[in-house]
Symmetry: D2
Subunit: 402 residues, 4 copies
């Protein structure tokens, strides 16, 4: 897609978000039946306006082929917490996983409805009795019964669990060493034995995530994504792209909070309090902007490597941590400048703040990522190892010097 | 009260909180009719067990005379977010303000029922169209009608507004310079013209705070606390003790979060993840403990000065900022170590985290306090000024070296 | 210059720095006569090897035309604190200022010798009795005597004052409003009345900087850079490019410290202490790398705008602050991991650490820049203002999407 | 000693430091022969004025018995970096170690001259080829020769190595497990085989510290401090008191930096720049004061436990880290507000800043202490363990409520 087109698409997305989504955030945040109806209506409208599924695989209707290009669009999609769901982004990751690894049956049954926006996917990995950062502690188990798998699993903190049509479930399918012991199974949520157990709010917000139990669910051989035993590799792949997609939306949200911070300073109340003259306010403006700009640069580096098909775990994790911090810091500063009003439902910041806090835990906790990053960087700097992330020139090369 | 007695009272409070309050926090947090009934029942029980109104004025039933002593008790009261309300602490500040400044009529009508735990007070200061840190921007107005005041005011973010029996309202009673222009008026919430307009949740938690409007409410001369025109001075006085009381409870809550953090490390899941060996976890444990211990020292200094009747604005604000940070940092670390579970309603941390965020805004925003503290410290260090907060020996003198 | 050539030049610079400079840093740091001789010898060698004056104006012998390209080269030049002086970089800024604004006489007398590496320039702005961030407080004064200026000035903390051949001096040449009151005067250091008063060490390092007094120095009309009264505008211009050039070298130095940090971990002593397994060490590695990568992105944005001739004060100041922090944080971590050895003259870190501290003050203190940045960002976000730094898409456009 | 007397002594020390030491810091910092003469002269004067060896054992001439009392005095001693040496404090730790553990011969030969101020001690622990935080890696070795030890050791970063009369050397005297393998040997520096190898500057400051080699030094059995094999236990004991004594002086130095920061704001230059109105300056004043006050509280807790003879490793390490940070942060802010002048030899801050940096490494690096503290706190919070550092009431009890 040409640069002009990406820019044009980004503007159309911005228009949709500003006109259709921002004014209805309070309604959408209620997560009741009316919100569900409004969601369906806005999704239909997004499809009609050609802003739905923008980063779905291009062969099947997506509009943007490269992740670097998509960042511009995602920055607009992310301005509202609710927009990604309305614009089909909740399914982008599953679309890419299925596009790459689905067999014909999965493709027909799950992938094609997904890119048409007809189904809601969810991803069932975390378990109540395992350690998130240690896949070896996963307890879910699929036993081979001669012609099918029998899957038993308890999974929690699953986004969209309450309304999903199918789940990608990680389970042990083999007793051997971990790299070949796990598999990804695609399971319809109305399968016998599949049960939504309870919703799980995050910081008081109930948005469909929850706990599911699978008891002796029958899974056919063709419901395996990729091949049996590829689960760990697919998890890594999914995590990488997943973190980049989320980080891209977080930066859009951070930018919105930055705008809200500045708008408050420029507002009549801000003028009355002379906020623009206060150095502590200026320092917040400066710091927020810097964190957003820095994270954007790191995210772009990671996306460029992704587009080139290069290993990019270091870049992905840096971008995830930086975007998460930029969002948290900016929404915190915006609230602080706004005062009690920013904590209340009179402002969208109240919800964004809570969402921002979850980004430090979901999809990899800060501590785990920091430890991993430090280890990876040390491995990359071992004597004799040539790792391009560390060559200063690479940074430039990735950015298109003539 | 002797040291042994304070210690004994603290133990009884701890027992009450552990036995009666902690197991019922989920119920109490719902803020519905059942929660209101449970609150009333537990208040009655607290009175029966002699742990209600511990820091009310000693002459009228309080158990602890000095603030330094009370800190030990407050650390136990504060372990649950819900305990202070159950133990009568919500009225402590109003009790002291009324005990000092109420005329016989206010004493009879509001103070005595308050110390008996029969009424719920609230404090109406913040306004939708004024700047919290600049009293000169307050718009509420009481006009003298010859024999009474006619009070018109819009006030918001008032704790307990929804269930209060009476409000202490700040309003302008004079057109002159601010130091003599404001007054504190004590107004029953069922006065004609007094209206609860709407609840205002904080980070999604609705706990009775909200907005009230007073339209042409009739206020008799004997409803003025202190004398007309003393409003600003009384606000400062109220702020000082109020911040200390809240900081004392926050440190109890921070200590509970610290306990939860350590307990998670020692739990089977913590052992499985070898959390105790992880330096990033250890650093969180260290930092949390240090912040709590530091804030406790600062709070004690401020309380000692309060007990001696010395000016203590610097110490109060330091203690408030430090306690607020200690709580925020500790609950954040506890959640981080606990993972998604800590964000959910499965853990009390989810609520505490949100409450902790409000401490940086309510009763004085961080930025305003920091600017004020810097200014006060610079004034205290001007050449020729002898200010005891800055003499290193004072710190020691306050702590009873033989 | 093509990308390959830039890359090739960067490699040659790296080779020169590694082979010729790093092994002699201890000698060079002594700042004695032997160091001066060694400096002269290495400069000659740099010229011979074609790595001297790389970013001098291309028309007069420079090798790189765009600042974006030069960043790659500067990252190599900056790896040693001593390399920029040896490679002629100390004069780059003066070269550009003179190339743009020198009249034929200045060009002949100062510019051409400068690009040939035959003269040492210095810049005399700061004064003992003025406020660095407030040009209006400058006291230096040039009085017009009918056919020449008589310049009287006290200037301090001037880099290279001790060995400079000429100085660019800021002085008031007019009593009117500041924007047209200041001028830049180019003054040979052997002018009658020009006196080097004393050296001024920075954190114990004496590297030629110091204080100079000018008493009734005669300055001819053709010694004015640009035109009389343009001083303030030229100062801004000089500051902008100057900050970018320094930031580019700081990042090279930060990268070297990062390499030293990792090398220590991989060393036998590091292995003995199992540093690679320690999360606190990993966190230092992660944080250092992230700060360097972030600053590099910000610097590149600023350089791209500079190359396009766009206003870029926000980007320049962000890049300066970020590079300064990246360097300080990285050298601090490297020392911390190395222990006492890192503080001693056994390690180059001891000097780099002290140099890093000065970056937060020289050329604009952190606080002044933060306040300025906050103000500039707020001005750029005023309703109705379109400022491209704030449009998320601009960031991408600047990086050459196809 | 009564409180009045401690306060009086502190005033006399303050007077001595202000009158005799502060005006001569530049001379004392030169570390040349003149400085040595001045040191001797001021030491004599300090003895004459009764402010020398204030915390030496009271039985042998010390003036203050409890560490809590001494903190007040130490806060004054520490205001100058040079005062502790002049007031005999450099020997305080050795005095206490010798007073407790010296046999009659050591007492006669080393202890009594030490308390008379006639000898300079040093402590030889760190080694070029061992890990500071892992005593098991120490390589120094004393072999038993039937009637004496033959000691071979390489030790570095030893304070006062250049001018010491005797050294306390840690060496392995046994091949067995560490707890009984190390011993403390007291060795005159003029022993045959004892050689000062080289000075080792810290951040460019050469103040007598350096490297020594001991080759086959003959050590008599009565030169063992305590008993052979007690080395590790004595090291811990020495570390504990040593950290507290140093932290006490650091806080005095931090207070002086705070005073310098405020004085700059109040100075004519500060007034010209309107520093008192700048929120970023106020924030620095606030933060510096808070860190000093917090560290003082933590230090006092640790000292109170020390005086009571209770285990206090947690408190000691908290106090050390907090005092180190308070000093670093305050001197950094003072320099930042002062600008380039603060970095130069025109200000004592330049030296203090460098000294402050070393406090994060000498006597235990931050990272090692943080990891240890986290581990100790986790051990103390294990289910079933009652550890008083964690009971909130203890903090109060230690502070003498009536």
């Amino acid at each position: 897609m040409t640069c002009e087109n990406v820019s044009h698409l980004a503007q159309r997305v911005r228009h949709f978000v500003e006109q259709q989504v921002l004014p209805r955030e309070a309604e959408l945040g209620r997560c009741d039946a009316a919100a569900a109806r409004l969601t369906a209506q806005l999704q239909a409208q997004a499809k009609a306006e050609g802003v739905f599924g923008n980063f779905y695989p291009v062969a099947d209707g997506g509009r943007v082929a490269s992740l670097v290009d998509y960042l511009t669009v995602a920055a607009e999609e992310g301005r509202s917490e609710f927009a990604p769901a309305l614009l089909g982004c909740d399914a982008t990751l599953d679309c890419h996983m299925l596009a790459r690894h689905a067999n014909p049956s999965l493709r027909e049954r799950f992938y094609l409805p997904l890119v048409r926006g007809e189904q809601v996917p969810c991803y069932a990995m975390s378990e109540p009795d395992s350690i998130g950062s240690i896949p070896a502690t996963l307890n879910s188990r699929a036993h081979w019964q001669g012609d099918h798998w029998q899957l038993t699993a308890r999974k929690w903190f699953i986004c969209r669990a309450e309304r999903a049509d199918f789940a990608t479930v990680i389970a042990r399918t083999d007793d051997g060493p971990l790299p070949s012991a796990l598999s990804m199974l695609v399971v319809p949520c109305d399968s016998p034995g599949f049960r939504f157990v309870r919703p799980l709010a995050l910081l008081g917000r109930q948005q469909g995530q929850g706990e599911v139990h699978l008891e002796a669910v029958r899974v056919q051989p063709d419901q395996v994504l990729g091949a049996p035993g590829q689960g760990l590799a697919l998890m890594q792949q999914r995590l990488g792209l997943g973190r980049l997609l989320r980080a891209a939306h977080w930066l859009g949200l951070a930018q919105r909070c930055f705008d809200a911070l500045c708008a408050r300073v420029h507002s009549p109340r801000g003028a009355q309090a002379r906020l623009a003259d206060k150095q502590l306010v200026r320092a917040r403006v400066y710091r927020s902007f810097r964190e957003i700009a820095s994270a954007r640069g790191l995210l772009q580096d990671a996306a460029a490597k992704f587009d080139r098909g290069q290993a990019n775990a270091i870049e992905v994790n840096l971008a995830k941590l930086a975007a998460s911090e930029a969002l948290s810091l900016t929404v915190d500063s915006a609230i602080q400048v706004m005062g009690a009003e920013g904590l209340s439902e009179l402002s969208p910041l109240s919800g964004i703040y809570r969402g921002a806090r979850t980004t430090h835990i979901l999809d990899g906790t800060d501590d785990a990522l920091i430890s991993t990053l430090g280890r990876d960087l040390l491995e990359a700097t071992q004597p004799g190892v040539a790792f391009d992330a560390l060559a200063p020139s690479v940074h430039l090369h990735g950015k298109g010097a003539p």
